[in-house]
Symmetry: C2
Subunit: 287 residues, 2 copies
């Protein structure tokens, strides 16, 4: 078992949910911990500022004032929010949402949350609300720690090959594909009627596809299977189904996002750092 590389503050309220998350992260590089005092997230995170790399939240578990207070104290951490993908932002705009029936993807979502957090430059003071008291050195410390633990090269995320689809045991492989298909279904169902929700489902799908190194053809396959299912159902019910081809736009959207994510992950301008320069790059250039 590899040394846990990321310590996650679990601020989940439902005991069942906390246990399920624990189960899906078992054996991986993420370790869940419940900070004390359990009943006061502000105090808990403030007291353990140095101990946590990311935070696991539950939708609607806290009044929104709590998040505002966290932001104001400079307590910004990469975050995964378990809940319906509604498009609503709980904590900050680099958070990643994951529905409770898709926890198979939790470890990918955590990686995505860290990656987005660093990319969005939440560590820079510019993005903080006025009056934030987290000093820049505080935030840089977190960035450095994350990079050290995760093997960042500049801002390029090092994916964990042991969690690539092709390297998973057969049963987990099927579970992950099934879960991806559910996320993609959420995306299709909300695509034309709720753009904000669709967007969160899309991001969730793209994150997992990226971090599991999903072959592109698998995405096309998932799309075709779902559309095929819709088509049969509509036909059975005697409805028109020619509008279904509009859903190609959703597939295009997924492809474009995924492609851009890969594109940005490929080292470009910067020549590979030479030995010895790696540690000296601080802060890393954003490509």
């Amino acid at each position: 078992m590899p040394e846990p590389a990321l310590t996650i503050a679990s601020l989940l309220r439902q005991p069942g949910l906390a246990e399920a998350c624990q189960r899906w992260l078992r054996g991986g590089r993420h370790q869940l911990r419940v900070p004390e005092p359990e009943d006061d997230p502000l105090e808990a995170l403030d007291r353990h500022r140095e101990d946590f790399d990311a935070v696991l939240l539950e939708e609607n578990a806290f009044p929104s004032g709590v998040y505002q207070e966290l932001r104001e104290r400079g307590l910004l951490l990469p975050a995964v929010v378990i809940g319906e993908v509604s498009g609503r932002i709980e904590y900050h705009d680099a958070e990643v949402h994951l529905p409770p029936d898709q926890l198979e993807q939790l470890s990918y979502s955590l990686d995505a949350a860290v990656s987005r957090f660093l990319r969005r430059g939440l560590l820079g003071a510019g993005n903080l609300p006025p009056g934030s008291s987290g000093t820049p050195p505080d935030r840089w410390r977190l960035a450095n720690r994350l990079r050290e633990r995760l093997g960042y090269l500049g801002v390029y995320y090092k994916r964990d090959p042991s969690r690539f689809l092709r390297n998973l045991p057969e049963k987990e492989r099927q579970q992950l594909l099934h879960s991806l298909s559910r996320t993609y279904r959420d995306l299709l169902l909300s695509y034309f009627r709720d753009p904000a929700a669709a967007n969160q489902a899309l991001e969730s799908y793209v994150n997992t596809a990226f971090f599991s190194d999903l072959p592109i053809t698998k995405t096309v396959e998932i799309h075709m299977n779902l559309i095929d299912g819709f088509w049969k159902q509509l036909k059975l019910e005697g409805h028109k189904n020619d509008f279904l081809q509009d859903y190609r736009l959703a597939l295009l959207d997924v492809m474009a996002h995924l492609c851009e994510m890969y594109r940005r992950s490929l080292p470009a301008d910067a020549p590979l750092p030479l030995a010895g320069q790696l540690a000296a790059v601080h802060p890393p250039e954003v490509r």
Copy 2:
């Protein structure tokens, strides 16, 4: 001016074409040379086996027996074929086709040809027709030379940032975008009626998009502009135009190919070399 990193055997027959290619490669890392004797490509390539990294060909310039003889002698080199994208293969299945009115993309096509050549494993004996006399060591020498000159990291292609769209002078940027749009137009026009030709146009587009680090949104923009133009023209002429949305399939196809190309270029399994190990690894490890 950088040292030319690739020496290209020019087997072009039309003097005008040879000059145009020369012009588009000026100042870059590709150097065109005409091997002697000029009239016998077999002799020319055989005699200068060690001098050339790739070859520039013209469609229909030689009888097909010449290519067969080249293959049989083990004279396989990365190749760009200037000519209409018809889907026909002249020399070998890793060759890259480029129409003569899209020479703006020539340097990208040459890089793509090298990349494809190495990826397709043409260097392995398995892919050669029986009776080929190029011994494996011969072919490995070429592979190693290509890697050394081009800064390959494993089989992952190191793109040349000086030719990224955003780093080109404004005029060249416009020329490249214009040329990409022409290639994409070729793709659309042949998409439903000539799959082989469409495929070559698609590959040409995807290669240039990859090597010029084209933002994904630019591809969507090129697609929309062309479809918009078709739509207006059909409307003016009083034709139906609702079939145009079928062309989304072409865009999907491009995205999927491009995405897969990026995906495969992203170092995957190998762990990051630690500082201090990087320089010692030779040939360099895949990041």
